[in-house]
């Protein structure tokens, strides 16, 4: 798979939490050639099933494995149209207001007809000259900022309605050493790893039914993964999400190196399954770092684990610098290594995978 081409494609889609219709349709097309069936559910989750390629030895039903990486992105929303024609913003997920001043955004104006028209906007703020000494020392809050469409108020009011989406702009940019930056690497880069794994599995055998899920609403609480897990009712799950790579300001024990995937340990992760994942990495020469989570992982794991009667989970993390900006930076080699690790983990699942889980 050409990973950079995929990143360019995904960064051009928009899919804020709760409104993922466009990106889910795009992703469904990517999974179709690699899976037996692909559906989009009522919360826009893409659920792609690749059936087992070999039967269980005793004819029992194939174990079901759910893989989850989220497709939604953080964004903004029109909260009000002010008398001067600028737009006040609401936030969909955790947008850091520090990235906003002087950035360009796309306003998805629904107009009077409901037909969406994309319009470029600039995020403005009161200029520093006009601020008091004290106010200059603070970051702008979201409510101090506004979107300027470069139009008269009358025109804006005709085109833009409260509740219209405002998405961030961040096309994929190639950097040195197979590194790349774009918006929404969190977490569509991990969906890329799912596609890599699906591709590898075309020529491998597996006795489990594999459900690739590009989940939704993770940035507002992992709700897509929760309901998808209800639908799939998996025996175990592997979640992929991004984590923080080391930068100069990082505190000790809070980050991992950029160039290789990591696995999380802690109570929300089933420790015997984690051992199995680590062994797979070792057997196939995939570099795998580790990180901890004392309880919440801040990923789909948190809700998949408690879907229905519970699901044992493991969590693979893809390291990323500058999370929740429009220049999320990662190592493309790590994306494909994640995919390779997943493929071997799934292919290596044997009938007795659950035997030693709890003692």
């Amino acid at each position: 798979m050409d990973i950079f081409a995929y990143l360019e494609g995904m960064a051009a889609q928009h899919g804020p939490s709760g409104q993922e219709a466009q990106v889910s349709a795009w992703l469904a097309e990517r999974f179709k050639p690699l899976c037996d069936s692909v559906t989009i559910d009522s919360l826009y989750n893409v659920i792609a099933l690749k059936k087992a390629t070999r039967p269980t030895s005793d004819g029992s039903p194939a174990p079901k494995v759910m893989l989850s990486a989220h497709q939604d992105e953080i964004a903004l929303m029109v909260a009000d149209v002010l008398p001067d024609g600028t737009l006040r913003m609401g936030s969909v997920g955790g947008v850091d207001p520090r990235i906003l001043p002087a950035s360009t955004v796309m306003v998805h104006a629904s107009g009077e007809t409901g037909q969406i028209r994309q319009m470029l906007g600039v995020v403005g703020a009161t200029p520093p000259h006009l601020l008091s000494e004290a106010d200059r020392g603070h970051n702008y809050k979201r409510e101090d900022l506004f979107v300027d469409l470069g139009m008269e108020t009358e025109a804006v009011k005709k085109l833009v309605q409260i509740g219209d989406l405002i998405t961030l702009q961040g096309p994929a940019t190639r950097l040195l050493n197979d590194r790349a930056a774009s918006k929404t690497m969190d977490d569509r880069a991990c969906v890329g790893s799912l596609l890599c794994a699906a591709e590898k599995l075309q020529t491998m055998n597996h006795l489990c039914d594999i459900y690739f899920v590009a989940s939704t609403q993770e940035e507002v609480g992992a709700w897509g993964a929760y309901t998808a897990a209800y639908t799939v009712d998996p025996d175990l799950a592997v979640v992929l999400d991004v984590t923080h790579a080391t930068i100069p300001a990082s505190k000790p024990d809070t980050t991992v190196p950029l160039d290789a995937p990591a696995a999380t340990y802690g109570p929300f992760v089933q420790h015997k399954l984690l051992d199995r994942l680590k062994k797979t990495a070792k057997d196939y020469g995939v570099a795998l770092n580790t990180e901890y989570a004392t309880s919440r992982t801040g990923t789909d794991t948190d809700l998949i684990q408690i879907a229905r009667e519970g699901v044992p989970c493991v969590l693979i993390d893809l390291p990323l610098k500058y999370m929740h900006t429009t220049v999320e930076l990662l190592d493309m080699h790590a994306i494909s290594e994640c995919g390779r690790l997943l493929a071997h983990f799934l292919s290596g699942l044997t009938e007795d995978w659950g035997a030693e889980l709890w003692n």
Binding site: L43, G90, S91, E143, G163, T227
Partner: protein, 329 residues
């Protein structure tokens, strides 16, 4: 409508103690639905079966509970110490008349606070006129709940103020809709009068699981941005029912938002688009039930939410009713 609202806001029913509200509503809607169930959390679930071959299941939820105070200790001198049930604001609670379910009346008061100390619920007490602990315990038990006392009145020509407007106004709306619906509807309509919303949308969670709907519409109040020094949401009292696009608990399904706005247009009633930077409704728990549900919230704009005088405009309620009837037919 005013009479119905007055009847419903005057029934005692804090979170976890909604039985009397459910009794009142059950009597009002019994003749208009096919089945009525109460579940383990006290939800009143009223189902009207659809006539289509494969009818969609549409769940409408209005919560019966409202905020209150729970007695956690009784002082030797007969004063009651309380903790909040739901989002009680201290600022609007001081020296308020409150009532218990058994008719005991009280006044909630804040004791003097030391300089530099932030007033908190532990500084509040309820005076029920008891002379000592023994007399107080003969009047109320630990675990009993008090609410702001009934006080429903008209404000100007179109507006009504009362405690518990959040969310009895939606209960009144839903009762009214059930009453006005034609005898046969295409889709199955499940009207849920839910419990424990104010402590985290708990009732609607189990009710939605039991109901297993295709579409969920929460009926609730929303804050306004049209009184001095309030900015968001951009919702005004008296300018129509608000269709929620987003709050902190849920992001409405975009198609359902469109359908509801279209129903409003068809019904010829004013609608507003609501983006609320805080808050959550039963839509949150419905959306995440089972395999996921398409949801939206219809909001009645309401000033001074979670105070003893929550104000709504009857024209907004009427708009909501017409919109819903058009949508459900």
């Amino acid at each position: 409508m005013f009479e119905l609202i007055e009847k419903l806001v005057n029934v005692y029913g804090p979170s976890g103690r909604e039985d009397l509200v459910a009794d009142t509503i059950e009597k009002l809607v019994k003749a208009h639905v096919d089945t009525i169930t109460r579940d383990n959390l006290g939800n009143l679930i009223c189902e009207k079966k659809g006539t289509a071959k494969a009818p969609k299941r549409i769940m409408l939820s209005a919560h019966m509970d409202h905020i209150g105070f729970i007695v956690v200790a009784v002082e030797k001198e007969g004063y009651l110490r309380v903790m909040p049930v739901g989002g009680i604001s201290l600022n609007v609670s001081r020296t308020r008349h409150v009532s218990f379910g058994n008719g005991v009346q009280g006044v909630i008061v804040q004791e003097p606070v030391r300089e530099g100390e932030t007033p908190a619920m532990k500084h509040m007490f309820i005076d029920i006129g008891a002379k000592d602990q023994e007399e107080a315990l003969a009047m109320v038990q630990l675990g009993d709940m008090a609410v702001y006392s009934n006080d429903c009145f008209r404000l100007g020509q179109h507006r009504v103020a009362a405690p518990a407007m959040d969310d009895r106004i939606a209960c009144a709306l839903l009762v009214s809709v059930l009453t006005a619906l034609p005898a046969k509807t295409k889709n199955t309509i499940v009207a849920v009068f839910s419990t424990q919303e104010e402590v985290g949308c708990r009732g609607s969670k189990t009710a939605a699981f039991r109901t297993d709907p295709d579409i969920g519409i929460a009926l609730d109040v929303t804050a306004n941005g049209d009184t001095p020094e309030t900015r968001l949401p951009a919702v005004k009292l008296g300018e129509g029912v608000a269709v929620k696009i987003m709050d902190r608990g849920s992001i409405s399904n975009p198609e359902l938002v469109k359908e509801l706005l279209a129903a409003g247009e068809k019904a010829g009633v004013p609608t507003q688009r609501e983006v609320l930077p805080f808050g959550a409704t039963d839509a949150m728990s419905m959306q995440t039930t089972r395999a996921g549900v398409k949801v939206c919230t219809l909001s009645i704009p309401c000033r001074y939410v979670h105070s003893a005088c929550e104000v709504i405009d009857l024209r907004d309620v009427e708009a909501a009713e017409k919109l819903l009837l058009t949508y459900l037919k």
